[in-house]
């Protein structure tokens, strides 16, 4: 059997982390292809619902990444994201998902290398954890 | 001309031994200008840091052993370089890798500490002897406070006055306290700064075991060095208990109205801030408050009190090493005290006590000025 290849969804803010992923591209920094990026305007825009949708659709891990506290285009989006993420972590526990499947990062525009490294680490991590056990339907949540 | 080729391995040795922050140094030299050694001889602290950065450290140089870890320089360093950590790291490298020379006096003290649990090489069983006739109880689970005297007041015949005065005060006020006697070891603070990391760890472990098996919750100490390591270094090794320096405890007792004075001390007293109480741990006010509550006592200050206080020269293991006449900080201190017209130098650290007492004797000033621990003055005034 082929090795398990985890699927990762990364929600990245338009201004910093998305740009960092772009920079990884322009600098040709290679990293595993397991990640798919969803662009949002601000990390503070990420709704827990989106993260659940990702797991529900078969993602094995989710990254929520945006600007540092001092670089936010909307002044304090990362603080709001932190608050959301804290709630999210609790919910994820209740649903029987391992905490390690979720990752909160702050990666600024110039940190293409860090973006690549985070993806690498996450892939490693998820390979250890194995496929996500979470397939429940959003309806049961609603 | 001898050409220097940077030797990365030497830098790495120091960094590995805990000198990590040295990379931040931008060579401003305020450390040199601040270091008390430069009052008595040249000691270019900045250059030592730069040598370490470039791997040009001369491990055989006696300068490796000079720093008294007084923290004057660290307090001023604009880049936050933990200069003491760098000095300690160089010593560690010498001690553990054998790439330099450990001064004889230090080697002997280190051997004593490792073997007997105290620098004087006295028998461990005799550690409680200072209190023999005082009728103190041995600490047992449930006792409120452990009094931990430090090796010097426990063994040194001249410094026992400190531990005895402290125990007398506590007994008279009915404080529920005990001692551990032969169960305790040297705290290890100074030997660690002298580069003996392994010795420190085994001492700390032994004390932590003794404390936890006796269920110790609060320790009162006479030495700021014990205070420092118990408070800041033991917790990482699993030693979780409350530490109070005796001057803090006395101030507390005064505030609570438990400690009252009945006798006057009509003397001019000058207080010397110990580096490890003041700069290292920010305790400046309590000892002064204690002294000021003694009636008749006139408290005066050195020209450089508190944060700028001059070191006695005894920290970082220097207490065990020979300092030639003319280079002793404590001599300068005694002169300053005399100039200010003090009758008594009040100390709050056993190392200061030893160094000032030696200076007073060798300077032949015993007739005009005395050295006393704060606890002695308190006991006298009660």
């Amino acid at each position: 059997m082929a090795e398990f290849e985890p699927q990762i969804i990364a929600f990245t803010c338009n201004w910093c982390t998305y740009a960092a992923a772009d920079l990884a591209g322009t600098s040709r920094i290679h990293y595993p292809a397991n990640v798919r990026i969803v662009r949002v305007m601000c990390s503070g825009m990420v709704n827990p619902m989106y993260v659940f949708k990702a797991f529900e659709s078969g993602a094995d891990g989710v990254i929520v990444a945006g600007c540092n506290y001092t670089d936010c285009h909307y002044i304090d989006g990362p603080v709001k994201c932190d608050a959301m993420f804290a709630r999210l972590k609790k919910m994820v526990h209740v649903l029987g998902l391992e905490e390690e499947r979720l990752r909160r990062e702050m990666i600024s525009t110039s940190e293409g290398v860090i973006f690549a490294r985070v993806v690498e680490e996450m892939v490693e991590q998820l390979k250890k954890l194995g496929p996500s056990p979470f397939k429940i339907k959003m309806e049961t949540l609603a | 001309m001898e050409v220097l080729s940077p030797y990365k391995e030497a830098t790495e040795v120091i960094i590995e031994a805990g000198g990590e922050p040295l990379r931040l140094c931008y060579q401003c030299g305020i450390c040199t200008g601040t270091c008390p050694w430069n009052l008595v001889r040249g000691f270019i602290v900045r250059r030592i840091i730069h040598e370490a950065q470039l791997g040009a450290t001369d491990f055989g140089n006696e300068e490796v052993w000079l720093c008294a870890t007084c923290r004057a320089c660290v307090q001023r360093c604009p880049r936050g370089v933990e200069i003491i950590d760098v000095m300690r790291a160089m010593r560690r490298a010498v001690v553990s890798l054998g790439i330099g020379i450990v001064p004889d006096a230090l080697r002997i003290s280190a051997k004593n500490i490792a073997g007997a649990g105290n620098p004087l090489g006295e028998a461990p069983e005799k550690r409680g002897d200072w209190a023999k006739d005082l009728g103190l109880k041995k600490f047992s689970p449930g006792t409120e406070i452990l009094y931990f005297p430090c090796c010097v007041p426990a063994y040194d015949p001249d410094v026992k006055v400190v531990s005895r005065a402290t125990a007398t005060i506590l007994s008279e006020l009915g404080v529920d306290f005990g001692i551990l006697g032969s169960e305790e070891r040297c705290c290890g603070e100074a030997i660690r700064k002298a580069g003996y990391e392994d010795t420190f760890h085994s001492l700390a472990q032994s004390n932590i075991n003794a404390f936890s098996s006796n269920d110790v919750k609060t320790v009162v100490v006479s030495s700021p060095h014990c205070y420092h390591t118990f408070k800041n270094e033991y917790p990482e090794l699993g030693g979780e208990f409350q530490v109070i320096h005796i001057t803090q405890y006395l101030a507390q007792l005064i505030d609570q109205g438990r400690l009252k004075f009945s006798k006057e001390i009509n003397k001019r007293v000058i207080y010397s801030d110990p580096c490890y109480l003041g700069r290292h741990n920010g305790i400046y006010d309590e000892p002064r408050r204690v002294l000021q509550s003694i009636s008749g006592l006139e408290l005066i200050e050195f020209p450089d009190p508190r944060e700028d206080s001059l070191c006695c020269g005894g920290g970082g293991g220097r207490i065990w090493m020979e300092t030639v006449k003319g280079e002793r900080f404590s001599d300068i201190r005694v002169e300053q005290a005399l100039e200010k017209g003090a009758d008594i130098i009040a100390v709050a650290c056993p190392y200061c006590f030893l160094n000032y007492r030696d200076s007073v004797l060798t300077m032949d000033k015993a007739e005009v000025i005395e050295v006393k621990d704060v606890s002695e003055l308190v006991a006298e005034a009660m």
Binding site: A33, M41, M45, G58 | Y26, G33, T34
Partner: protein, 663 residues
């Protein structure tokens, strides 16, 4: 709803994409997706023929949605949105898939890349299905500009705008404009006299038909947003009749009450009624109500000024009953130029500032060498003697993590300037204690060289202390400056009569208040944050609010002036356009779902949503000029009433689901 018809375009980007992705296969695959009516791959989608493909297909296939899979949308999304618009399609009915930066350039296995690209394209197709056309809205710009702070930055900005015949309100909180620059004697590196170059500009401000100067005033409240700010200004009572005062100063001469003058850095006194300095603009006296005995005694004592004022500008009425005025302004943009404070070196105990008489700060020394200053332009010790030796200490409070970690940028240079002035005015020896000499500007290195020629002594080492504890005969009665000469590796003690501390420039003490007034951010160092350090240095994250000069960080006069002109240009370009395009992808409220709980109002940093009563029902309403579309409100809205256009749940969820569903 009309039938959705999607066109998909997969770009080769030469070999940049096609080299590691099988683009033809992706295009073929896309054609099989629901609602896709045309799918193509092309060498360079961003080229004119590439864009024409889209435009033609929109007509030919009646497309109402477009997806391009190519480079990063941060590069070419605007290009393709534009193509859609030119083809007759609303630009928001477009979606972009990033298959270059996020795929072909970062992974190497062609097979895997092709699969990933399919995922990305599928997700874009699913997302675009839910896109809605958005209206691009515009709002008018009020052509008036508010400039806050009348230092050289504010003066320059105000003049640039007013010379373009646009109205400027210049608010300065001190009785006169001029800022720190008017306190300086001569300016490095050219040594031209500060007053001589600044007072003409100040006078221009004073009588410019397009500048309304509100001195001795402070902004109290700001509301609204870019293009239409409303501002309340408190014009403090000077306790004189401004229309009558001719600035003759006879009142000042006769007033018997004094305090140390802030303008003279405490080296001279000023009266209870005063003009801070001779060339003040406006040239009016101001009464210090805390010091004025007439006011304090409620008219019972003194009143000397009333008697002597021939213009009758001071009366019992003005002294006792004049109150502050609130002035309301409407402006389209704001330039904040509030400058800096000089760091107070008395917090550094070892330098003896405040303890020893002849330890001075830079600004004190500036006043001393100024011909109109307290010593009449003489360099004198407290006891009136001339110094024989002067030490100048650099980096006092700068480059030091105990105080300020940053470099204050001007101290090396003004330290050199002092060496020159001391040489010019006295016979004293000069010692410059520095860590690094930073002489980066035009003519600066040359100035350094000139001072070396003039015989200043340079000692590389951060001073450890300044003390009066002499150890040699020579040191007696002097201040001794102790440092390591790090180049010699030796401790050095320099006996000096005067010590000048090159104190850091720091953020204004009230920077916090000003920041919240104008919705500015502050950096860790306390200064105001620019929108982009390199590429947008005078804009701020708040549209329509610009910053200039030292409120953004320490800098010299040339940089301050350049920045002020830049800020003025930004304001003028806004005015010249006359309107602003509002962000379309912003919040909107589904009023049928909103329960008026106010969570959105609470979380929004930009105060865009407000819960209001509509026909007796409490609902949230979003101010579209304030909303930036960050989306925080939608996350906290528990009813799903708050929606971010173009980032609606169905749009994002369909994309997310599509990214993983097949595997």
């Amino acid at each position: 709803m009309e039938e959705v018809k999607i066109g998909v375009y997969v770009c080769h980007c030469g070999l940049n994409i096609a080299g590691t992705v099988d683009v033809e296969e992706v295009a073929k695959y896309a054609a099989t997706l629901p609602s896709v009516v045309v799918s193509r791959d092309y060498r360079y989608m961003c080229s004119d023929p590439g864009q024409d493909l889209i435009k033609n297909d929109i007509k030919e296939y009646v497309l109402n949605r477009v997806v391009v899979a190519s480079c990063s949308p941060r590069m070419h999304e605007p290009t393709f949105r534009n193509a859609c618009q030119e083809g007759g399609l609303n630009p928001y009915l477009y979606e972009h898939a990033n298959i270059r930066e996020h795929c072909s350039w970062v992974h190497d296995d062609k097979k895997i890349n092709t699969e990933k690209t399919k995922d990305l394209v599928r997700a874009a197709v699913k997302r675009v299905y839910h896109h809605e056309p958005l209206e691009v809205k515009e709002a008018p710009v009020n052509p008036n500009v508010l400039v806050v702070g009348g230092g050289i930055a504010g003066i320059q900005a105000a003049l640039d705008i007013a010379n373009g015949e646009k109205r400027v309100y210049l608010v300065e909180r001190e009785p006169s404009i001029g800022g720190h620059m008017i306190q300086l004697d001569r300016t490095f590196p050219t040594l031209d006299c500060s007053e001589c170059i600044l007072t003409p500009k100040m006078a221009d401000v004073g009588h410019h038909p397009f500048i309304e100067l509100l001195a001795y005033s402070e902004v109290e409240e700001v509301s609204g947003s870019i293009g239409q700010f409303k501002v309340k200004v408190r014009k403090k009572a000077r306790h004189i009749d401004e229309s009558k005062c001719v600035g003759c100063g006879i009142c000042e001469e006769k007033c018997p009450w004094k305090v140390p003058s802030a303008f003279e850095m405490g080296l001279a006194m000023r009266k209870a009624i005063y003009i801070p300095f001779a060339q003040a603009i406006p040239n009016l006296v101001t009464v210090d109500p805390d010091l004025c005995v007439y006011i304090q005694s409620n008219g019972k004592k003194c009143g000397a000024c009333i008697k002597f004022c021939e213009a009758k500008a001071i009366t019992p009425e003005t002294l006792l009953n004049q109150t502050d005025q609130i002035i309301e302004l409407e402006v389209g943009s704001i330039i904040v130029a509030t400058g800096y404070d000089q760091f107070d070196p008395s917090v550094i105990p070892q330098y003896g500032y405040g303890k020893y008489d002849n330890v001075l700060t830079g600004l004190q020394f500036e006043r001393m060498t100024c011909a109109a200053g307290p010593t009449g332009g003489k360099v004198l010790l407290k006891d009136g003697r001339e110094p024989e030796s002067v030490a100048i200490i650099h980096c006092v409070g700068s480059r030091d993590q105990n105080y300020h970690e940053y470099c204050s940028r001007v101290c090396c240079m003004y330290g050199l300037k002092y060496a020159h002035l001391i040489k010019e005015f006295t016979k004293a020896d000069v010692y410059e204690f520095y860590i690094d000499m930073r002489c980066f500007g035009e003519g600066y290195e040359e100035f350094y060289k000139r001072l070396s020629e003039e015989g200043a002594n340079f000692i590389r080492g951060k001073v450890a202390k300044v003390t009066d504890q002499a150890v040699t005969e020579e040191e007696k009665g002097k201040l001794i400056v102790v440092a390591e000469d790090t180049l010699l590796g030796r401790l050095i003690r320099v006996p000096a009569d005067m010590v000048i501390l090159c104190a850091a420039l720091e953020a204004r003490a009230d920077a916090d208040k000003v920041a919240s007034l104008f919705t500015l951010n502050r950096r860790a160092d306390g200064f105001f944050l620019e929108r982009h350090v390199k590429l947008d240095p005078v804009a701020t994250p708040t549209d329509g609010v610009f910053i200039a000069g030292c409120c953004e960080g320490p800098r010299d006069i040339p940089d301050t002036v350049a920045q002020a002109s830049a800020a003025a240009a930004k304001a003028l370009s806004l005015i010249s356009k006359g309107k602003i395009t509002l962000e379309s992808a912003i919040a909107s409220v589904d009023e049928t779902r909103c329960i008026g709980c106010g969570r959105c109002e609470e979380i929004c940093t930009f105060h865009a949503p407000k819960v209001i009563s509509k026909n007796g029902v409490m609902v949230s309403e979003v101010n579209e000029t304030l909303c930036k579309g960050c989306g925080a409100c939608a996350v906290v809205c528990s009813t799903g009433a708050m929606l971010i256009r173009h980032y609606k749940p169905e749009q994002i969820l369909s994309q997310v689901a599509a990214l993983t569903e097949v595997l």
